[in-house]
């Protein structure tokens, strides 16, 4: 997918474009303090990334768009709720921008950031 056929020809949307939308949506999600490169799940806190393609991976399988996001969450928030919100927000923004259905958004909580300990 990421491909649409019109009478004039085809439209292709690269996975990078989708990743950029997902990246920005994630950063506006409450509770997320950063993204983590997916292949560096160790020592992530040091390698929080601002590169859209890092931390977000997008794959097309036939008609399905699958998005994987690796995030760092603020310590002291309810992780489950934050991850759920991220999944909803990313799906919402990608579908709104592309007009295409997203098959799955997988949120991987790669770590927590502790900015205050109570």
């Amino acid at each position: 997918m990421g491909e649409e056929t019109t009478s004039l020809g085809g439209i292709q949307i690269s996975p990078d474009a989708v990743a950029t939308i997902a990246y920005h949506a994630t950063l506006e999600s409450y509770g997320v303090v950063g993204l983590a490169p997916k292949n560096l799940t160790d020592g992530i806190v040091a390698s929080i990334t601002r590169e859209p393609s890092r931390g977000v991976s997008v794959s097309y399988k036939g008609d399905d768009i699958d998005i994987d996001i690796h995030i760092i969450i603020e310590y002291g928030t309810r992780i489950n709720s934050v991850a759920q919100s991220v999944a909803n927000t990313v799906r919402f923004h990608v579908e709104k921008a592309l007009g295409l259905q997203v098959n799955s958004v997988n949120v991987h909580v790669a770590g927590l950031r502790i900015s205050n300990s109570d």
């Binding site: 603020e74 309810r78 919100s85 900015s115």
Partner: protein, 553 residues
């Protein structure tokens, strides 16, 4: 609203300890729950979870569950429990932010046994900082902005307020103002015409606490009463449905304090679109009711207060007016002047005729000829006795002449047989002068225009030496069949040949309801290509059956 001074005084004198905080949280939760639906209704895009009010209520409910059995009187300990409960129960984006606000608040007062003015300001400051830390890119115009404004306002008020209750008043006021400003910060809210839902939820929590102090009800949603200026009675008119025949607006001063819940309950038995506004003790009630119940709201309100003003409007008639005014603007008729009535086969043509100054339009044309009565009705009520009728179709000329016979008004029929003739006649209208002289001048003008019509043959036939098969495109010139063709484009080109279009200057295409706008323009471009020195215009005609009506002048 009834504020009990003795009660407030009592609150002022008592320190706010753990148990007081518990009651305040309960009040905030109750008030939020009461207004939950209203908060949900505000939800628009920025946070795509559709139930902010529900999520915040559940989050605060979890906090309440954590503290409801706690007997601690230590403020900091109680706040810590609130924070813990909210964290565990946080639901949705707005719930998580709420839990962070409570967590920050709790941190700001963790070592205090009671809540003093300085601690409140510090705790709100911590609440803001904690809330903002939880997100990389804070979106302004949301609940975050509201807690920020509250923190700023309480800190600024430090020197001037005397007690925690006054500080709470400052916080509620700041939250209220911040919520009202959210549409200026977040364009999507402005577009939707709402304030931020999460921010409003936070406002309700704080306001609920203050209402508890004041001893005001926490069970009846305030949102049912608008301020008088905020009542949108014009907008209510757009939603008129069956059974809403009359709009009743009653201004009144209730004898006793108005019990909104029972007031609404009674009104709901009578009708719909209920709105109640309040300003300085005066209430305004708005309702849509069916015909037979049109006096009931008035009778009812007279029982509970003094009615100062009543307005009753017939909605059906009003809707009619709105419909008409949306459609066409006719030239108003001066008494004694000449009014022109035309028959028009399509919306687009009607608009053109209206812009040329006709006084009334009768819908009709090929295969939908209006009756004599239809034509009569169009002008019988006009405030003049001088009328000119343009039938614009050869089959309607007769009905127009009959209308002339049966009316007492002075009528002249200009026998336009086509729409272009009618338009040409209309363009030459100079309504000063004798009726017959004006009509004669119009009849002369119509002779200068040639009319082409493009349509599809409905049967196989040979007329005037042109043989036509069913389904072919045919072209008529001044009502006479001149061309049969395989396409509309071909029909148009051959028709223009037959009409000696080369000797004319202006060709106007009125495309019909079956002809797409783009295709009409395309064909016009082909014509432009061939008739380079001509002026070619394309207008929406909206007529049925005819792909094009073409005026050649």
């Amino acid at each position: 609203m009834a504020v009990d001074p003795a009660r407030i005084d009592k609150f002022r004198r008592l320190p706010i300890d753990g148990q007081s905080l518990k009651r305040l949280i309960d009040a905030g939760l109750t008030w939020l729950r009461t207004n939950k639906d209203m908060v949900n209704a505000l939800n628009v895009f920025p946070v795509p979870d559709g139930d902010t009010g529900t999520n915040m209520t559940l989050t605060l409910q979890a906090a309440w569950n954590e503290i409801k059995d706690s007997g601690t009187s230590h403020l900091g300990e109680m706040a810590a429990l609130v924070s813990k409960g909210a964290l565990m129960g946080a639901r949705g984006n707005s719930g998580v932010i709420t839990s962070q606000i409570l967590r920050g608040f709790s941190r700001g007062c963790h070592d205090k046994a009671t809540l003093d003015v300085a601690t409140i300001a510090k705790a709100f400051g911590e609440a803001r900082d904690t809330a903002y830390k939880g997100v990389v890119r804070p979106v302004e115009g949301t609940i975050l902005t509201v807690i920020k404004e509250v923190a700023i306002a309480t800190e600024a008020a430090l020197g001037s307020v005397k007690d925690p209750i006054e500080m709470l008043e400052v916080a509620v006021r700041a939250a209220d103002e911040a919520v009202k400003k959210t549409p200026d910060l977040l364009p999507v809210l402005k577009q939707a015409g709402v304030v931020d839902s999460g921010g409003k939820g936070l406002f309700f929590i704080l306001e609920g606490m203050l209402r508890h102090v004041y001893g005001e009800s926490l069970e009846t949603p305030t949102t049912m009463v608008h301020s008088l200026s905020a009542m949108d009675l014009q907008g209510a008119l757009d939603e008129v449905e069956e059974g809403q025949d009359y709009e009743i607006v009653v201004d009144f001063v209730p004898t006793n304090e108005l019990n909104l819940a029972s007031f609404y309950a009674r009104l709901e038995e009578m009708g719909t679109s209920i709105q109640v506004g309040e300003g300085e003790g005066m209430y305004r009630m708005h309702i849509h009711v069916p015909l037979e119940k049109r006096y009931e709201p008035i009778d009812y309100i007279m029982e509970i207060g003094t009615v100062t003003k009543v307005a009753i409007e017939n909605l059906l008639a009003q809707m009619d007016d709105i419909q008409k005014s949306k459609q066409l603007q006719f030239t108003p008729v001066e008494p004694g002047s000449i009014a022109v009535v035309v028959v028009s086969p399509g919306q687009g043509l009607s608009r053109i005729f209206a812009s040329l100054g006709v006084a009334a339009i009768v819908a009709g044309g090929q295969s939908m000829n209006p009756s004599t009565q239809d034509i009569l009705n169009s002008f019988e009520n006009l405030p003049t006795d001088k009328v000119i009728i343009l039938p614009n179709n050869k089959n309607i000329v007769l009905a127009a002449n009959q209308a002339k016979e049966v009316t007492v008004k002075h009528v002249a029929v200009v026998p336009t047989r086509t729409v272009p003739q009618g338009l040409a006649a209309m363009l030459s209208l100079a309504p000063e002068g004798e009726l017959q002289a004006v009509a004669d001048k119009m009849a002369k003008a119509m002779a200068h225009v040639k009319t082409g019509e493009i349509t599809i043959a409905t049967r196989t036939v040979e007329i005037d030496g042109v043989s036509v098969k069913d389904g072919q495109v045919i072209a008529l010139l001044d009502g006479k069949l001149v061309v049969s063709a395989e396409s509309v484009e071909q029909g148009v080109m051959e028709l223009l040949e037959k009409a000696n279009a080369g000797e004319h200057e202006l060709i106007t295409f009125f495309y019909g309801e079956e002809m797409p706008h783009g295709e009409a323009n395309r064909i016009a471009d082909v014509v432009r290509e061939k008739y380079k020195s001509h002026e070619i215009e394309v207008q929406e005609g909206g007529q049925p059956h005819y792909q094009f009506i073409i005026s050649i002048e």
